[in-house]
Symmetry: C2
Subunit: 84 residues, 2 copies
Amino acid sequence: MNALFKALNDETRRQIVEMLKERDMNAGEIADQFKMSKPSISHHLDILKRADLITSEKKGQFVAYSLNTSILEDLINWILTLKK
Amino acid sequence: MNALFKALNDETRRQIVEMLKERDMNAGEIADQFKMSKPSISHHLDILKRADLITSEKKGQFVAYSLNTSILEDLINWILTLKK
DNA sequence: ATAATATTTAGATATTTGTCTAAATACCTA
DNA sequence: TAGGTATTTAGACAAATATCTAAATATTAT
């Protein structure tokens, strides 16, 4: 739960997640959507991946990232327990 | 959304929220459940309050804190949009 | 093999965050 | 009003975080 909240506690990472909801994207394509440097985006992708929010697959010289929505169940369940 | 994720991105604060789910509590009662100093807990309460996750009401020399679950709707909705 | 492209790793740095102690404020009671 | 209890504010400090540039790695194309 810690890694999940940590991963989502950043506007850039939330935007990445929202982008990946629409379609899978390469690291470079993702980085192009931000003013930030590529290494910074790479770091954000790493944090999202550690939280299991995204998965990556190497395709030639590209790395395709996908959203993993199944982990969001845990988050929703945690929130729902608060609402009794 | 930022304040909300930020507020929940801390184990102590998540525990406070879980405690307040059971019953309203005074600042001191909350602090007693942790090894941490009272000022630190007060700071956490402030962050939760800014995120609108809790409300406070002064009752004499005590300050009673309550959980505000309505704000959780926003969080759930944000998550649900990701799941399409 | 060399060069070009895509991505990550390493290392540095400024900012943010969580924690503490000491002090201030607010309320209650004798 | 004086003293005690509850809570917050202020200020300091260490650890975590987000960002950058430079360099390393991996793949593709000439």
